[in-house]
Symmetry: D3
């Protein structure tokens, strides 16, 4: 009966994308369910996976938003 | 001081609806607050209820997204 | 596929008890599952309920811990 | 390695605004990171902050939604 | 910057154990971090994993606690 | 009506302590409530703070548990 919650920023994982794709989400769901089966013998039909996408303005690291953090990275300051 | 978090998929509970209605959400809030009062004597003014609606692409069960799961159900495969 | 998370302080609901009883927890589980069935037609076998009990030192309200808050209540200051 | 999750209703903190601003979110992130540094010596580069904004229809208090609650306040009934 | 939260019941995955072992937890952490790297290119040093173990009295499914559910299973009624 | 959840590892912030103290928790509660008041004008009597302490075996970073991570730090490998 596990619940796996995956919180990620709403960003693309490559050029031209601005969020995780359906395929990536499906891979996260499949992989997380498989992990619980492999490690703890939890049948996949008893595992829930919830993906929460968080705006980069709403996620903080190092005391600043990820929006700001990414800007510093693009400017070569991170 | 309870907090009740209700996570549901963003789907309608009947034909022609694609999400929980305001009335359904109000009923969840009222019912959850009443439950804490009935069972644990928590006054309703000390209970918070938070409803989180999750896209069907972002919710997984049986190793697949609910989007996919609903499709199998419509095709009679579930 | 709902998940209902109920966060409560670890306190008894009456004299001589210092935490929710098994019976009270069972009533919360039953009631929350029933609520989702009644309001959104969610079958009870698709609803998870998770009860999180939090020490009164770890729960804050009005800028103080519930441990402190209860003391003020006992002293008639709340 | 702390994670601070701040759940707020999606409302403006003053006239003419209907949600927390970027500046307010940045202040929450900065303040929460600083708090963990001040109190527990957690370096700011090990603290994540996640801000979750919840629609007023989806947040309940006193057995009703905040949408309803705000209406009663505007009508002078709260 | 992902956070992966894995909620499981506090039960052993085999005879003679009553909770997930250190090794199983380490495998969950490693696997979840790897999953985020594989699917979304998230470096492992930016992923947090939090495992929450929940007493079987505090987890509900099908309207009953997992304590009760396991008893029905042992009695061949599930 | 904010809820601030602070997840930390169960570790002392200095020598001779193995968990956050009552005073540190009280400071987190007070500081988080004050932050919401300062930034978003939320009255302290409408803010809940929940502190979740997580065993170092149950928290992962860089693909390993914090138990392991601390060991590497003590050995000068981090």
């Amino acid at each position: 009966m596990p619940v796996v919650t995956i919180q990620i920023t709403r960003e693309g994982s490559g050029p031209g994308r601005d969020a995780a794709t359906k395929e990536e989400k499906a891979a996260l769901i499949k992989g997380a369910s498989q992990l619980l089966l492999d490690v703890l013998n939890k049948p996949v039909n008893s595992t829930f996976v919830v993906i929460e996408e968080v705006d980069t303005d709403n996620w903080g690291w190092e005391g600043m938003s990820i929006t700001e953090y990414r800007k510093l990275q693009r400017d070569g300051k991170k």
